[in-house]
Amino acid sequence: MPCYYDLMLYSHCGTKIVKQASNTMWGFLMSKEFNSKLTDLKRYFFNESDVRKFIDFLMTKAEVIAPQTKGEQSFAYNVVKNSSDVALEYPRTMQPLKKYFLPPVETLLTFKMSSNEFSEEVIEAKKQIFFGIHSYEMKGIHLLDYCLGKGKPESNYLKRRANALIIGISYKPDKYHFATSLGIDIEETEGFALFFEKVTEGYLVFVVTDEGAELIKDFSGGKPIDEQVNIEELPQQAKIKYHYNRLPQVFEHVYNSRVWDHFADKCVGCGTCNLLCPTCYCFDVRDEVGLNADDGKRQRFWDGCMLNSFAEVAGGENFRNKLAARMRHRLYRKFSYITKSSGELHCVGCGRCTRYCPADISIVEIINSLIEDYSAQQKKQAV
């Protein structure tokens, strides 16, 4: 369940914890924390200046990447130059974290045509620390690990991924987030070394892995605490009507639904939803030769199945030349096709596709319309 540590206040001396809730409420909330994934974890209290100091400390260990403001109202992951630039509260970044493991444009190899030789790019095995990552983003990385590690592993991705240390942070859902509808709690800590939970006057820092414990041990700020904490559920605004474990079943019945045509009418096929999706990993490979008509490089670019040319083959045939078919394919890739082998939904509810769609198409609306269609079919059959 989504929860938010909101009711606990710290006195200004910073050591004594003042419980604001009544006894009965405390009991109710205690039982919630008991279910929470954070219960057994060792914890520290950091005020905001501790957090900034901690980022400075991390910067002495390795390159730190964290969300920062970009433009007028956007956020983007970037290398931290100054700890005060880091956005601790942000709804979502534009590009997902995959940009560091599967870059938007990546040179795979360089070649020489006259001698028929090529050399592969060397991937630097540098340590990177990712700070301030939301739980749905981490889930997206786990799903990419599955997709790119299976079969013939994607070695460039895995090499970069192996050197990543990721530190999580809680977030306040806005009207586009629906991760909790897909079973990804705000406090889901799997994959993080440490997890920062926003409380009224600072952050509770939960130690998730030994690597995280090591970091905290070396850092001089922050105060260890061992009290249980109050939890308040944060309401989510975007909701999928069914429990997420019913979605694969819904997708068994909606392949020929009219819902696809309805939403495809609004779509312009710009591919934004694919490119900003944390679990999309399709790419295109292009060779480009230099002006000496001899040296060249092979690069790969993010691609997307919503783009008209994606399913085009030699001779000009296009297997999915209709937007409805492309949109259906995109959603089936998230809720059905890979789900059959991984057993997981490959959408993480970050809301990027909805938030950045120029035509205002909402993925939650599409799924809910499909659910309606499915439930109407079921009712018909019951008669």
Partner: protein
């Protein structure tokens, strides 16, 4: 490069039709690449840069739209003498800005421009080169995109098929993580305009005017509805799309109009 390849350097020619000749001038601005280009090919005709003429060409680059009866004769003649013909810049590819005149009665246009002498300057609606002769490849943009031109150029010299992008400018904006221009309240044709410019305008705080024409297989109604959602009327949206794409917009169906 091997000596053999140098011996058989392709003969390249450049021609201008109705246009501002900006695309051609653009090529002379490739100061870093110009000498490398000359290593690969023999430029045999290029009015903007030299006086020589030739009879036949391996690659002919055509700039500008077809807008007079003489243009038609000339383009047929060039096509007959060229192995490969490339339309260069948006005027040649779609009619470009010149085609805006096609929305008005031809008599009125001629009179506005030439006054009482209009009969001395016969004119036809501005057409893309491909409306008159077969065009093998195209380089889009107003002015033409320099990297795309170099890509087409190198591909043809190497005997490969050029692969210009056929996806929206949005793709390039997203690859560069640009903040969306539409969201800032500007008008932007990026979601339906062909990429290849590396999202030049949106990357520099401007909106996309659609100078590279529209992506193929476009959802016309969706495009107009999208612009309406961002506060532009159907008429305004169509007018804006027509700036560089009158011929393309006019050959499509209703665009959501009744």
């Amino acid at each position: 490069m091997s000596a053999q390849a140098v011996k058989s350097k392709p003969k390249v020619a450049f021609f201008d039709f109705t246009s501002c000749e900006g695309c051609q001038l653009n090529k002379l601005n490739f100061e870093n690449e110009l000498l490398d280009i000359l290593e690969l090919v023999d430029i045999v005709e290029f009015r903007e840069a030299m006086d020589d003429k030739a009879d036949a060409y391996d690659i002919a680059f055509i700039e500008g739209s077809i807008s007079t009866p003489t243009c038609i004769e000339r383009i047929h003649d060039i096509r007959r003498r060229s192995k490969v013909l490339v339309a260069l810049g948006q005027c040649a590819v779609t009619g470009g800005i010149n085609a805006m005149k096609n929305s008005h009665p031809s008599e009125w246009v001629q009179e506005t421009v030439y006054g009482k002498d209009k009969y001395l300057f016969p004119s036809i609606p501005a057409q893309p080169v491909s409306a008159i002769v077969k065009v093998d490849y195209e380089v889009r943009g107003c002015p033409m995109s320099a990297p795309e031109y170099l890509h087409v150029f190198k591909s043809l010299v190497l005997g490969r098929k050029p692969e210009p992008p056929d996806y929206a400018v949005c793709v390039e904006c997203k690859l560069k993580e640009n903040e969306c221009v539409l969201e800032k309240g500007m008008f932007c044709l990026g979601p339906i305009t062909r990429a290849g410019c590396d999202a030049l305008c949106p990357s520099n705080g401007q909106y996309c005017t659609g100078c590279r024409g529209m992506v193929s297989n476009i959802n016309e109604k969706g495009a107009v509805d999208m612009l309406k959602k961002h506060g532009f009327s159907t008429e305004e949206a169509i007018k804006r799309m027509k700036l560089f794409n009158t011929n393309e917009v006019d050959k499509q169906i209703s665009w959501g109009r009744k």
